[in-house]
């Protein structure tokens, strides 16, 4: 006698045929496809479509770049590329830019092993009491982080329940590539952590929730950082975190968190909702964002997945 009930069996069959009927069904399919490409050590591009169009680029089974039409990319902005010091070969040659460190091949995929340039000529000062004479440049570190953030931001957007992938294109090379490729497992773990955070933020704000400056709290008795101020002045009559991210050339995920924090300070408000008067302390317990809770939830999700 079967241990699986008839209803469970029907649901399993339906899930296998129409994965979109399950929560994150298609996202899980894309994740599985990424794992297969990693296992096969593939090089090329996986097109993904859904709420936005985009693509994920691989080299040797690891992620070197991704872009989505719904997140900022360095390719869209030459200013962003120049700021990163990573300019596509053709553009760089025309504009007279130096080639990015490690950007050796004409297709941008060759010779990118290691974090080239991180310990380059811009060496830091010696730290007393250590044997290390050179330290990495913060500028190079932030360059690599900026490209990584945009790549993971795009993959987080592409791995939605509405996305589908198309045929893998082995010949496609990225317009720009991370100096050191990202293992697919690490990328998927980070995406899952971000999804947990977005679930936490959901009742308060999403990337597409319009926010406005809260005039009632627009007083000098609050202190904000320069990045927070840059966001505040661009909110204007109202904007979504996604639109602000596009304007500021920052990640949608990071901008959503930043908007959440300004909501917590009472400097932003969501139109139609009562203003925050007590900050997070006054919010329902589940509405307070916690990175720690997200890691815990992501890990327990992994355990559930492995049990299944």
């Amino acid at each position: 006698m079967s241990q699986v009930t008839r209803r469970t069996r029907v649901r399993q069959l339906a899930d296998s045929v129409w994965p979109g009927r399950t929560v994150d069904g298609y996202a899980n399919l894309i994740a599985a496809r990424l794992r297969k490409l990693a296992a096969a050590e593939s090089t090329g591009m996986l097109p993904v479509s859904g709420r936005g169009d985009g693509s994920i680029y691989f080299r040797g089974g690891q992620v070197v770049y991704a872009e989505s039409s719904r997140t900022p990319t360095p390719v869209r902005s030459e200013r962003g590329l120049a700021a990163l010091g990573l300019v596509p070969a053709a553009v760089g040659a025309q504009a007279g830019h130096a080639r990015p460190a490690g950007y050796a091949g004409s297709n941008g995929l060759n010779g990118l092993n290691g974090l080239n340039g991180l310990n380059g000529s811009a060496a830091g000062a010696r730290v007393p009491g250590t044997e290390v004479a050179t330290l990495p440049s913060l500028g190079r570190l932030t360059d690599v982080l900026a490209l990584t953030e945009q790549t993971i931001d795009a993959i987080t957007d592409l791995l939605s329940s509405e996305s589908r992938y198309a045929k893998f294109r082995p010949s496609e090379a990225p317009p720009i590539a991370r100096p050191s490729p990202l293992p697919v497992g690490a990328v998927l773990a980070e995406v899952e952590r971000r999804r947990q955070i977005l679930r936490q933020l959901g009742p308060v704000i999403t990337a597409d929730t319009p926010v406005v400056r809260d005039a009632a709290r627009d007083s000098p008795s609050f202190q904000v950082s320069a990045p927070q101020w840059a966001l505040l002045v661009r909110v204007g009559e109202g904007a979504t975190p996604r639109a602000l991210a596009m304007t500021l050339d920052r990640s949608v995920f990071g901008t959503t968190i930043k908007a959440y924090r300004l909501l917590a300070l009472g400097l932003l408000a969501v139109p139609g909702r009562p203003p925050v008067t007590g900050g997070p302390a006054a919010w329902p317990a589940g509405d307070v964002m916690s990175f720690l809770r997200a890691v815990s939830d992501a890990n327990s999700g992994d355990e559930r997945g492995s049990d299944a």
Partner: protein, 125 residues
């Protein structure tokens, strides 16, 4: 881990006597950029997430107090260890945090704090 060259990157803080764990974290997203462990059993992702949460809460507190001050570092004392968190660079994006966990019995807190401060200051733009 985003930066595979963590050993090289975090080598200076590993010189702290009693060093257990070092992490570079993107404070705005909570993403671990690099981590280096000297002891099994310490989950860098959990420690990094907690450190980013602590910094966020203190930043919120500072924003509400509006004293015009900046957060320099955070030192937390547990029964067996010190947790030390310091923004590598203040008030700029990305907000990179350095977390160091060290053995309380073996670590000179003042020396460790000084080394961490110098390490953060030694990053060049």
């Amino acid at each position: 881990m985003i930066l595979p060259e963590a050993d090289e990157l975090l080598a200076p803080v590993m010189a702290i006597e009693g060093f257990r764990l070092g992490c570079l974290i993107d404070g705005s997203t909570g993403m671990v950029l690099a981590s280096l462990e000297n002891q099994d059993g310490l989950a860098s992702s959990t420690a990094a997430a907690g450190a980013a949460d602590v910094i966020n809460v203190l930043t919120l507190l500072n924003g509400r107090l509006a004293t015009g001050e900046n957060l320099e570092d955070v030192m937390v004392t547990f029964s067996d260890s010190f947790f030390m968190v310091r923004p590598v660079r203040r008030d700029q994006e990305p907000q990179i945090l350095l977390l160091v966990i060290a053995d309380r019995q073996r670590t000179n807190l003042a020396m460790a704090r000084r080394l961490i401060r110098d390490f953060c200051a030694s990053f060049t733009s």
